[in-house]
């Protein structure tokens, strides 16, 4: 499968604090690339490097190269990049707007005004996020009225409406109950055909369930990367073995 995102010698610092050390690997098109590791391993920092969201932090500096379709992400217009590489956060953060306006927020910011086009985008992305049947009759109601699981799928739909190529999931189910978690996981599996997915998770079992390939991060370093089943069944590094079998973490 062709490479979608390539990372070369990436180091990330916040002030003097080194959070990511010498990362080099590739993420392929249409895979679910999962990143596991204990807290403070730099997993979320890595995700936010991919869409340059951590540039909002004044302390952030990086060296090395990240490319999207062989193009340096620093050379891509940052607003465009963030639409191409969408992110779903750990907590659902609906804006205090209607369901409809939440989903159309990104497209509207990129200049899409036509009502019909927006309505079409809303229906398509809600269907893709498996939320359409639950909310189709109340699109004008406040998004904050939805349940937690629905809000998270709304956030997925909101990212989809920007017509991204890559979707980053930053522990998307950490605040959800098991049933909502299962629905979000199903959604991710379905989306895999059309999008490249990078999933950061604290939940090792989740990585095993949905991942195609898995990377193990520890203290800012990538210990191991490989096919998910290899990482889980015959890891090459003893630390990976200890982590996936629950000896620490």
């Amino acid at each position: 499968m062709p490479t979608h995102i390539a990372v070369r010698d990436l180091c990330v610092h916040y002030g003097r604090n080194c959070v990511l050390k010498d990362l080099s690997f590739e993420i392929q098109k249409n895979e679910i690339f999962t990143i596991i590791g204990p807290a403070n391993s730099g997993k979320s920092s890595f995700l936010q490097t991919l869409n340059r969201l951590n540039e909002l932090n004044a302390e952030f500096t990086k060296t090395g190269l990240v490319t999207l379709d062989d193009e340096d992400i620093d050379g891509i217009d940052v607003e465009r990049l963030r639409a191409r590489v969408g992110i779903v956060f750990a907590l659902p953060f609906p804006l205090p707007l209607s369901i409809f306006d939440n989903i159309t927020y990104g497209p509207r910011m990129h200049g899409i005004r036509a009502k019909a086009r927006l309505a079409e985008l809303v229906e398509r992305s809600l269907r893709e996020a498996y939320l359409w049947s639950e909310v189709k009759d109340r699109l004008q109601q406040p998004a904050m009225n939805l349940s937690g699981g629905q809000q998270q799928r709304l956030c997925i739909a909101r990212v989809l409406a920007g017509q991204p190529e890559v979707i980053l999931f930053d522990e998307p189910t950490s605040g959800l109950d098991p049933i909502s978690t299962a629905r979000v996981e199903e959604t991710m599996m379905e989306l895999r055909d059309r999008y490249t997915i990078v999933l950061v998770t604290n939940n090792v079992a989740q990585a095993a369930r949905v991942g195609t390939r898995t990377a193990f991060f520890l203290m800012g370093e990538m210990v191991e990367v490989g096919d998910t089943k290899d990482v889980f069944t015959r890891p090459s590094d003893p630390r990976t073995d200890q982590y996936v079998t629950g000896k620490f973490g």
Binding site: L56, I87, Y105, G106
Partner: protein, 281 residues
């Protein structure tokens, strides 16, 4: 002494202190309303002053104050809100921005008579606006600027960080984020702060003393370069500068001014209450 009695005494004392804060407000309102109510009539509010302010009404002063407050808003609100946006959303935390913030805090502590002299120096004399509504409005505007900036900053800072994160993550630019994800949710707070600032501007005497207020001018102003009477100054004049003014006129004028300020404050409270009920985060 047992714990329960001790607690009862403490509560009683605290309640008494709180009550003391309310008493002056009620007494002032009561006395002014009692002595001034008899003067209130449509002729008093909408009439011209006559025979050395001892007859007729206070309309030029009331209208003058409304003009001044309106002028102060037109100047201070855009400037104040835009500076607050810059300070909260754009400026980095460095020496310069901290100095600016310190200056704003200090601006709020400058005595109002100093603003009056400043207005006289800058607007009346140096810029040549003369003693006029324009000079007075600008002076009042500068005086309430720190109030508006501080209220707007607090309103902007109270908008959750996550709104900004989400907006940026969906590919909005910084300005789009401010315009669509921050400002709409800060607006109620900004509005409330602004109205409270206006209440202050409406009641101040010192800043308008040298810049706009006319002692006795029984006609309505015709342009922004006209002088005008204003309620707080008019009240000062008829209470202390001209002997023998009818008592009910003096208290009536005070009552109108007080009501103007109270209505503005009430509007701010109602507005805040209504927005708080709608708020969902």
């Amino acid at each position: 002494m047992n714990v329960r009695t001790e607690q009862r005494i403490a509560f009683g004392f605290l309640f008494f202190c709180t009550l003391l804060a309310v008493v002056p407000v009620l007494v002032i309102l009561g006395i002014i309303a009692y002595k001034g109510m008899s003067a209130l009539s449509l002729d008093f509010i909408f009439g011209m002053p006559e025979s050395g302010m001892n007859a007729g009404g206070i309309f030029p002063a009331l209208l003058g104050t409304i003009y001044l407050v309106t002028g102060a808003i037109c100047f201070a609100v855009p400037l104040g809100v835009l500076s607050a946006i810059y300070l909260v959303e754009y400026s980095k935390d460095n020496v310069v921005s901290r100095l600016i913030k310190l200056a704003i805090v200090n601006l709020a502590g400058v005595p109002s008579v100093v603003y009056g002299l400043f207005g006289l120096g800058i607007f009346v004399v140096f810029l040549g606006f003369g003693v006029s509504i324009l000079s007075g409005s600008l002076t009042l505007g500068i005086m309430i600027l720190p109030v508006i900036i501080t209220a707007s900053r607090e309103a902007l800072e109270s908008v959750p960080k996550s709104f900004r994160m989400v907006s940026f993550s969906l590919g909005a630019s910084r300005w789009q984020t401010i315009r669509h994800a921050v400002l709409p949710h800060a607006l109620p707070g900004i509005l409330t702060g602004t109205i409270l600032g206006l209440g202050r501007a409406a009641g101040e005497t010192a800043p308008i003393l040298f810049t706009v207020a006319a002692f006795y001018l029984p006609r309505l102003p015709e342009s922004v370069f006209d002088q005008t009477m204003a309620l707080p100054y008019h009240l000062y004049v008829i209470s202390t500068q001209v002997p023998g003014i009818r008592e009910d006129f003096r208290f009536g004028t005070a009552l109108v001014l007080l009501m103007l300020v109270l209505i503005l404050n009430l509007a701010a409270i109602v507005l805040r209450y209504r927005f708080r009920k709608k708020k969902r985060w």
